[in-house]
Subunit: 424 residues, 2 copies
């Protein structure tokens, strides 16, 4: 069956998965957790083959760590599934209940988006997490994982799908796409697929965004800022900057640019530069920063995402200049201010046009698990639908249900009747 | 100034409009209403020129009615603005408040989307309504109205913008684009414009969707259905079908297809066909319907939007077949079931994958004013962000604000600290 045909079947199955009910979805998650536990040797064996192939292909040890699926990753996955299983069902919430007129009741109800395509990096635990998120949120999913873990993915996928279907979910609730060339076919399924979530390199995400008519959720870039205000507590500022830059510099929520308020540039920047240098960070600064710290001059764009132990530094004149820099050169991801002045913090929080705006903490907190969402399917820098870390709530849309007793519109148009709105 | 430059300026102004506060936006709306009232002779004079030109260009009287802006349309506009002005501000609502750990508080806050481009039909009242909706919801707007009312639009726009700016809103909060060729330039502003809302013919909306990278909200088609179930009350069914088809057949929420449950086809269809014929409707049916009513046979696609006094008819076997037809051939707009059976109604409501799903009332109720939203900027058949009629709530997104006291992520990763989630 072509991907187009499978996706079309899935589209028709999607309302049935949505209607399957919370208990059925929770039972499916429990069945999946049990099946993964039971068949773990089969999973580990497939993963060992993937790892051997990776070693043969001279894949770096750092990346091989991500490909690995062992006892500890399995138990983290199982804990995640059980957490999701225990979360309140996001489907069927009454978001609005309003009487339009006597006997004419409008409700806005949360419903799953429908069919979601997720293209993700070579990490077996990502396949488990994404499947679980989609089932918990009532969405059908088309999965395409990185090919370096194809064997692990195949085994994991078969276990998950069999457990889901045998516990009563529609047989079209999940399918997996395996070859890289299938991606092009998936991108053309705009009549059946409601949402695409690509995860991976900026170039890859941008490619997906430019080659499909399906709405895309995700982020191409994370150019995150830390702004140290004139009223900052330096004792907080330095550890936060070091954490935001170095705790995991390849992450999208790692800071890329340090902005320092002019009145404290002289007292703060040399100390900050020293701490960053000790943490292995190379700085690229504007003229003022170069003069104060002796760092290399910034030659590239302020819109640079290093994803590495490198950082841009600029001295700005006050919080409004910082906001202006961030709204011009940022990527609407996560930006922080360090200040003890509540008024300045409030101004920054209201004017910075990003998904996550922080005060006195590290940008690295931008993450679905850290927000208490259980897990995340990705982080969105788009401004429509879901923004920031996206959990099961972000995989819902809504529909309006209107129940009447024979009402027509004509009498409301010609004045014989009028609406009497009353929220219930 | 090029449109690109103006849009970029507007993007930087958008957070300032968002932060301007509810009182400032309400005051601006009041100032706009007063200014329109005060300068109405100027508006009517410009409109008279538009109408004279339309007559010279042999525009049909029916369309000229829409171009007209007179005392009664002005007072409807003023009533709408005052209603919007009195509505609770949608900006700054706390949608989630959660302690992640001691002294680390996460909030999800509603914020305006930012910069919205609206391309709308030649109706001067639409310009007023859209401007008012954008100001109330805290969004900057780029407006492009139909050229047949260019003179009226210019006068109205200048009055509205002057009133808004002189009451304290940022001077970049609104601008108007006048020539048709400017549309292409607007479509290329993906780095500055957050959302496009095109209104008009299907072909036009589809053209916009296919020629921009900016997210588009709207609907290209309204293929709406009425399904008459075996447990329908015919006394409700016939008036609802006549209303849904004929009350305003050119509207997107008018019904295009009548589905009738097999067990009641023989008793119901001839009476329904008679009522529709008396209302001027031509039917196109499947074989069974042709046999029962003598109507013309259906030769085109079931996915046809007539926007006229024409209707497709098909006999289906039960509610699941009706749902299947709607999910296959509909446009996810508005679909209704007529039944006295609550269980069947619930099944239809849960399985039909449309923005608006009705029971025992006319599809023509799908409208922001009729839902009590004050007004609507359009109706969305997309499944992301806002769905169905879109009012000021649909023009909001959200941001996460995280306030700490120096927290870094490292101790949460290495086990020295852990999260203690608590909704506040």
């Amino acid at each position: 069956m072509s991907i187009q045909t499978q996706a079309a079947e899935m589209k028709l199955a999607a309302p049935r998965l949505a209607a399957a009910g919370s208990a059925a979805r929770s039972a499916a998650l429990a069945a999946i957790a049990n099946a993964l536990e039971e068949k773990k040797q089969e999973i580990f064996a497939a993963n060992a083959q993937d790892l051997a192939a990776a070693e043969q292909n001279a894949v770096s040890p750092q990346i091989r760590k991500r490909l690995k699926f062992d006892e500890s990753k399995l138990s983290a996955c199982l804990a995640g599934i059980r957490q999701l299983s225990a979360m309140p069902d996001p489907v069927g919430k009454v978001l609005l209940s309003r009487q339009l007129d006597e006997g004419l009741i409008l409700k806005r109800i949360s419903v799953p988006i429908g069919v979601i395509g997720v293209i993700f990096e070579a990490r077996p635990d990502a396949l488990v997490q994404i499947s679980a998120l989609c089932i918990r949120s009532g969405n059908c999913a088309i999965l395409k994982g990185g090919s370096e873990t194809a064997r692990s993915n195949r085994v994991l996928f078969n276990i998950i799908k069999e457990a889901a279907v045998s516990s009563g979910l529609p047989s079209d609730c999940l399918f997996q796409v395996e070859s890289h060339s299938d991606i092009a076919e998936l991108l053309a399924c705009e009549t059946s697929v409601d949402l695409l979530i690509p995860r991976g390199s900026n170039a890859f995400v941008r490619y997906i965004m430019e080659h499909t008519k399906i709405p895309v959720m995700g982020h191409a870039e994370g150019v995150c800022h830390v702004y140290v205000d004139r009223d900052a507590d330096f004792g907080k500022a330095i550890p936060i900057i070091v954490d935001a830059k170095t705790q995991y510099s390849a992450a999208c929520n790692a800071a890329e640019t340090l902005l320092v308020d002019e009145p404290v540039a002289e007292s703060f920047l040399p100390a900050a530069a020293k701490a960053l240098k000790e943490a292995g960070v190379t700085l690229f600064g504007d003229e003022r920063s170069v003069n104060l710290t002796g760092c290399a001059p910034m030659t590239g764009s302020w819109h640079t995402e290093y994803l590495d132990l490198k950082m841009s530094v600029r001295v700005v004149d006050g919080v409004r200049a910082a906001v202006d820099h961030i709204n011009r050169y940022g990527s609407r991801h996560t930006d922080a201010i360090i200040t003890e002045n509540r008024e300045t913090a409030a101004l920054f929080e209201s004017l910075v046009d990003s998904a996550d705006v922080y005060c006195n903490c590290s940008t690295r907190f931008a993450d679905g698990f850290r927000y208490g969402f259980g897990a995340e399917v990705g982080i969105s820098t788009g401004k429509l639908h879901a923004r920031g870390p996206v959990g099961i709530d972000g995989l819902q849309t809504y529909k309006y249900i209107l129940e009447g007793s024979g009402q027509t519109v004509a009498p409301y148009c010609d004045g014989r009747k009028e609406f009497h709105f009353k929220d219930l």
